[in-house]
Amino acid sequence: MNTASHAVSDTFTMLRRNFKNQLRYPTSVIAIVGIPVLFLLLFVYVFGGALGTAVTGAPAGRPEYVNYILPGLIIMTAATGSLGAATSTSVDMTEGIIARFKTMAIFRPSILIARVISYVTQTLASMALVLGVALLMGFSPDASFVDWIAAVGLLALASFALTWLGIAFGLAAKTLDTASNLPFPLILLPFVGSGVVPTESMPAGLRQFAENQPFTPIIETLRGLLLGTHIGHSGILAISWCVGIAVVGFCWALKAFARDRTR
């Protein structure tokens, strides 16, 4: 029997299930959007007055600081999306329904493919919400149409990579607690990079880490696209990191999915 002939229809069926679940249980979207928005409010209104002047050199720093911090927090949304993917994957795997799917003559990869598509969609929608809040707070991008297309493409790629990693966490973790703890460092990585302050202001060891971790080139590329700052070789680094993370997450997820999780 060849189940590949059902690849498209099975993927659509799984997608329909996932989207319905997301719409009926929007708690994860609230967390995915809530964490970056909370940091946005905190950094702009609490620290923004002081940090803005220090970071941008403008006398009234707060409005300028919204522009500086937004790229980092949009990328943080990819990380909170990854956390959402990890937790809901973990919950789903412990329910019997996935075992039921595995005993049916379906195109098995559709379970993971639909999952990735629905989580990336969820993360991109969440990013749009974060961007909306930032616009209300005075974010003023300086980007052409082509820049926007490139920015969305970069965000989709970053979400794709971190979603695969999140799914792998969710599949590999034995408990829900582990699944929700594993992606947590990802959420904090934009802070230990160029997300809230330039890396030049950091002490030597930390600065080296900050400049060479994956989030910094992604943030710098996004900042360049949206605000016209210098991108340089950050663009190619950002894409390489995303592809690398996606490949690792993908392989890990496949391996963990093949393993028997049913009790």
């Binding site: 099975d10 069926t13 319905k20 679940n21 329910e95 039921r100 799917f101 049913t262 009790r263």
Partner: protein
């Protein structure tokens, strides 16, 4: 096992599985004819669920060959999957979807024609008495209703072979009887049932063939009657109105009876024939006997005799029978 001319739905030879250095299945052979109910019995941890997981393609065995509905498990798992339906111990429903949506999910994943599928869903909703809740999210269902939906979902694709892993665990006696009727109806349509259970009464009620699994080995196989025949005799149980009457009876019958002073009863080993009962009664003052009951060996006795320990749910079984 018995020689049967009907084709085999499931053939298992030399099935082995270990988790680490713990042997879970230690060489299992099974021949299950089409349209029959086979029941795998065993205490918790005997390996029943592992056997179901292997046969339903969720886990791969370490050794052995399995053929299901003519498809080799190792070579054509999708062929096997297309022939089977599985209801496991843990409910396999999507709790955020409604009952109807869960059934439709099975229609689409079973690649059924939409129109046929809709009709099938309507029939199952009717058969499993899900009409009132069909449009509500499953998260609002009671445990018993979820299990009914679970079983209905398994039947959407009209599978020829159905695995039921402890399908009635946790159900009330009425729901259990409903499930039994569903199983009987399926068998009448020629479906083969592979049933695991801890309830010996359930196996006794439903199974054509049964096997007892203990420590990864099949320690007994046969029809329920054959297995019961392997256990030494039953007994006559007498209940007396007074302690004096009990004492008189013990004196009259001699040493072969077992007395219980708490409930003033006496157990006399017997094959349960009318002649034997008459023989006992003739030696007693019939007026002093409050009631009499016959105990024929049931599968609990078989279990005890074979494994050296009572079945895990013996007590619960007796309660449920009342």
């Amino acid at each position: 096992m018995t020689i049967n001319k009907t084709p085999l739905a499931i053939k298992v030879t030399g099935l082995r599985k270990s988790h680490g250095d713990q042997v879970v299945l230690n060489g299992i052979d099974l021949d299950i004819p089409e349209g029959s109910v086979f029941s795998l019995l065993g205490p918790n941890g005997a390996g029943k669920t592992t056997a179901v997981k292997i046969l339903s393609t969720l886990t791969t065995p370490d050794a052995g060959t399995v053929t299901i509905n003519g498809h080799d498990l190792a070579g054509d798992p999708d062929g096997v999957r297309a022939s089977i339906g599985v209801t496991g111990q843990f409910s396999a429903v999507d709790i955020l979807l409604t009952g109807v949506e869960n059934l439709r999910l099975m229609v689409d994943l079973g690649h059924l024609d939409r129109r046929v599928g809709r009709q099938r869903c309507a029939e199952l909703i009717d058969q499993f008495d899900l009409g009132e809740v069909a449009r509500k999210p499953v998260v609002t269902y009671s445990g018993g209703t979820r299990r009914r939906l679970d079983l209905a979902m398994t039947l959407v694709g009209a599978p020829r072979i159905i695995f039921l892993d402890e399908p009635t665990t946790g159900l009330d006696p009425r729901a259990r009887r409903t499930t039994w009727q569903v199983i009987r109806d399926l068998v009448a349509d020629g479906v083969t049932i592979f049933l695991t259970t801890q309830y010996l009464e359930e196996a006794d009620q439903l199974a054509d063939q049964l096997a007892v699994l203990d420590h990864g080995r099949l320690i007994a196989e046969g029809t329920p009657e054959e297995l019961k025949g392997r256990v030494p005799g039953g007994s006559i149980s007498l209940n007396f109105a007074t302690a004096t009457a009990l004492n008189d009876a013990v004196r009259a019958l001699g040493g072969q009876s077992i007395r219980n002073d708490d409930d003033l009863s006496l157990q006399i080993p017997s094959d349960g024939s009318a002649l034997a009962v008459q023989g006992v009664l003739n030696r007693l003052d019939i007026g002093s006997i409050r009631n009499l009951s016959l105990h024929t060996p049931d599968l609990d006795d078989v279990f005890l005799a074979l494994t050296g320990k009572p079945s895990t749910n013996e007590k619960k079984d007796q309660e449920d029978q009342q």
